[in-house]
């Protein structure tokens, strides 16, 4: 096919899926529909990841916009050594980290000294600050029909309160369904460190769910989910 000849030769021989290959070829020809497809496919997760690093939803949106433009500009030089998705999220995370550092917001990646033993009582994690959860700022859709609305909102709030490193790992692993190697590749983490962050994030969300919902009602709702066929 004529269009495919525009994909860099290196990309042909490497980690691109056939689907990504076609998308990349179309993007390189300036195909607006293909870009719309890219936005629809990745924008929601990109926005949610960016939210972990910056203070406001509008800042997160700006970061995603910058990242998408950087992706478009970089496409002709993209060598396909990783998947398109991995490459895009690397660009996003780098930009979000830079923006977050400029804002002095949240933490960067890497284990902080002493963190390993920080959740001794996982069901009663202390809240370090007053609880002022802006669920309205989340990019999670709390009205998604599969979740009970109260539980959906509580999950939004709990996820939004995680530190950036835990937030990103949790969003990509448990909400987006990425595999551990995919997350490690994007974030430059070892598998072990990724699991530590994932564990902290999961136990943090669980503890906050118990605190924000009535404990008993949270357990009933969670049990309902774990026994449903979708779980």
């Amino acid at each position: 096919m004529e269009k495919l000849s525009t994909v860099p030769a290196t990309a042909l021989a490497t980690g691109l899926t056939p689907d990504e290959h076609d998308l990349l070829a179309a993007l390189l020809t300036g195909d607006e529909q293909a870009f719309g497809q890219l936005v629809d496919r990745y924008f929601p997760a990109m926005l949610q990841v960016a939210r972990g690093f910056v203070r406001t939803p509008s800042a997160a949106q700006e970061v995603v916009q910058e990242a998408l433009l950087a992706v478009v500009e970089g496409l002709p030089r993209f060598e396909g050594r990783s998947s398109l998705q991995t490459w895009m999220f690397r660009i996003l995370v780098n930009r979000a980290k830079t923006r977050g550092a400029r804002e002095g917001h949240r933490v960067s990646f890497g284990c902080r000294r002493g963190d390993r033993g920080s959740h001794r009582n996982d069901s009663v994690l202390p809240e370090s600050t007053s609880v002022s959860i802006a669920t309205g700022s989340s990019t999670i859709d709390p009205t998604a029909p599969v979740l009970n609305q109260e539980l959906g909102e509580a999950i939004c709030a709990a996820v939004d309160r995680l530190p950036a490193d835990q937030h990103t790992v949790l969003v990509l692993r448990d909400i987006q369904g990425w595999t551990s190697p995919q997350v490690c590749e994007v974030l430059g983490l070892s598998d072990a460190k990724q699991r530590i962050l994932l564990h902290r994030a999961r136990t943090g969300v669980h503890a906050r769910l118990l605190r924000s919902l009535n404990c008993e009602s949270a357990l009933i709702k969670l049990q309902g989910l774990s026994s449903s066929p979708a779980a």
Partner: protein, 84 residues
């Protein structure tokens, strides 16, 4: 609970994500499973963790605002018009 027992539970809880990820050594997995067999609290905690993961898996991220989407496509179009 005796102090020794508390520590064992704490260690078990620390291993649960590794357990769910299949990242434990055979020996560590056997030790954890032996603990879970005898500890109602840790077993319940594991089930809650599983349920939390299931709940997270059902979260749907908000789709882009149509206006934002249109703006992004406009930027893409301008970039390509300018670079060709």
């Amino acid at each position: 609970l005796r102090r020794r027992e508390e520590l064992r539970c704490q260690q078990a809880v620390e291993l649960l994500t590794d357990y769910l990820e299949g990242a434990l050594s055979r020996r560590a997995q056997d030790r954890l499973e032996a603990h879970l067999k005898t500890c109602d609290g840790c077993r319940a905690y594991l089930e809650q963790l599983r349920a939390t993961i299931a709940a997270l898996g059902q979260v749907r991220l908000a789709t882009p605002d149509p206006k934002v989407r249109a703006e992004l496509i406009e930027l893409y179009w301008r970039y390509h018009a300018g670079s060709s």
